[in-house]
């Protein structure tokens, strides 16, 4: 799958490894989580209301469209969160399991 975002410069940075929907993915140190995810897949989440996949909008923490779930049940705002090694994101709604993640 071609990444959504296109890197134009600053590619000589250390790699970071994360999981997206259980699949291993690579990003670069200094990427936001949003950029990191959109280097591998073309969306961040599914709209709650059936209108399809979303990939963020404002990139400045204003629109709140880029909140993603981690497999541990946490919520991260992808455009204002720096990607870290070991992050594990799901791009689909976690169904009825989220409230049992204490």
């Amino acid at each position: 799958m071609k990444p959504r975002f296109v890197r134009l410069a600053e590619t000589a940075r250390p790699r970071v490894y994360l999981l997206i929907d259980g699949q291993a993915a690579e990003a670069l140190e200094g990427d936001t989580l949003m950029v990191a995810v959109l280097q591998s897949v073309r969306s961040l989440r599914e709209s709650e209301f059936g209108d399809g996949k979303r990939a963020g909008f404002c990139m400045m923490g204003a629109c709140q469209d880029c909140w993603v779930w981690t497999t541990q049940g946490e919520r991260l705002r992808a455009c204002t969160t720096e990607v870290k090694d070991g992050m594990s994101i799901v791009t689909r709604q976690p169904g009825a399991t989220w409230p049992n993640l204490a």
Partner: protein, 381 residues
């Protein structure tokens, strides 16, 4: 300017006034409903949205049951959906005293069809795995539910209009006066309205009008403190409320079909009825954030996206004013529901219509008669 006239004038367009207008029309009486702002904008539109019987004083359960019957036919009767979800209601506790309280109520109210079941902490968590480990007991009432308070009263208001009620929004009232055998209501814009019967459903402002008729009641205006989370996948069926030793520390929540979780509790602030302002105290928001995870640990992963408040009328004895005036023939009241009026709304409307039309009602509302404050009036005189 000639006055507009009808059989009944209703002052106050919340859920009580809108329902009364609807049911009076069903009985063939002509109705004028006057509302300072928009239908359902005050307490009716900002409350938690619980459609429940459990927890009400036992003497209120017949009225609550009557109202429930109407809720079950909401769309059929009023023409639009108020997002009623009937997935039960649950109260949970952390101490033996909490368990005692819940068990006592379950016993007192056992004959009113609520189907309440007391359950221990382990059984509760088996059934509702999202409940927290500190909960020791709970009472589950499977038939209760919740609905959307922003929609309900406006829907009933529109239904009343379709039934032929004359509804005047954006119509501020200056006063209600006795005029011979009947009443004259004067609006700020100069219009007057006349009727032999007046019904005051003015919520937190009801006391201003009852006082003008020599019937002051001990009521204060309070501001509920509400907040709501972002939408998350639907998983919490019953409306859930936690008992607490300090009433200001209790929390309760409900998840709507779209996924947002509405959270109330943390106490109330005083509201300003003169300027029609009510604010959320950030401290009370923090109380909810702290206490909600004790009931459901997964709350710690979520975010609240908005807080709001509004103006509700609270009676000193926590009982509403409902029924005829103690002093003025043709004058009726239904206000002061003390933060518990939403579920009662349709039933109150039906009962007040019955009372006004026939002179009596089959539903017991004697405890709510305004005459219980007659001594107050006498002392004030």
């Amino acid at each position: 300017m000639s006055a507009l006239a009808a059989d009944v004038i209703i002052v106050g367009g919340g859920i009580m006034g809108a329902s009364s207008a609807f049911f009076l029309r069903k009985r063939g009486m002509s109705v004028i409903l006057l509302e300072r702002g928009l239908i359902g904008q005050q307490a009716s539109g900002v409350n938690f949205g619980n459609v429940r019987r459990m927890g009400r004083p036992v003497e209120q359960l017949p009225l609550s049951n009557r109202s429930r019957e109407i809720w079950l036919k909401f769309k059929e009767l009023f023409g639009e959906d108020a997002e009623l979800l009937l997935n039960g209601q649950m109260r949970v506790g952390f101490t033996p005293e909490h368990e005692e309280r819940m068990a006592k109520y379950a016993q007192e109210a056992k004959d009113f069809g609520l189907g309440m079941q007391m359950m221990g902490g382990k059984a509760l968590r088996e059934r509702f795995p999202w409940l927290g480990p500190e909960i020791t007991s709970g009472c589950y009432a499977p038939y209760e539910g919740h609905a959307n308070p922003r929609l309900a009263a406006p829907i009933i208001g529109r239904a009343a209009v379709r039934e032929g009620a004359q509804v005047f929004e954006n119509t501020e009232i200056v006063n209600v006066e006795k005029d011979g055998e009947g009443f004259r209501v004067n609006a700020a814009d100069g219009r007057t309205f006349r009727a032999p019967v007046a019904l005051i459903t003015a919520g937190a402002w009801g006391n201003l009008i009852s006082t003008s008729f020599g019937e002051p009641v001990p009521m204060i205006a309070k501001a509920p403190q509400m907040c709501v989370t972002e939408p998350v996948p639907y998983a919490i069926g019953p409306t859930t409320g936690a008992l607490s030793d300090d009433p200001d520390q209790g929390v309760y929540f409900r998840q709507v079909a779209r996924g947002n979780i509405v959270i109330g509790g943390g106490g109330r602030e005083l509201a300003d009825i003169e300027n029609r302002r009510a604010y959320v105290n950030p401290r009370r928001t923090m109380i909810k954030l702290k206490n909600a995870p004790r009931v459901m640990p997964a709350f710690k992963h979520l975010h609240i996206i908005r807080v709001w408040s509004g103006i509700e009328g609270y009676m000193d004895d926590s009982r509403p004013i409902m029924g005829p005036s103690a002093r003025v023939p043709g004058l009726y009241y239904a206000f002061g529901f003390s933060g518990e009026g939403f579920q009662l709304g349709p039933g109150v409307g039906e009962v007040m219509a019955e009372l006004i039309h026939t002179g009596m009602t089959t539903t017991p509302i004697e405890p709510y008669h305004i005459r219980r404050f007659t001594n107050l009036a006498a002392n004030a005189a």
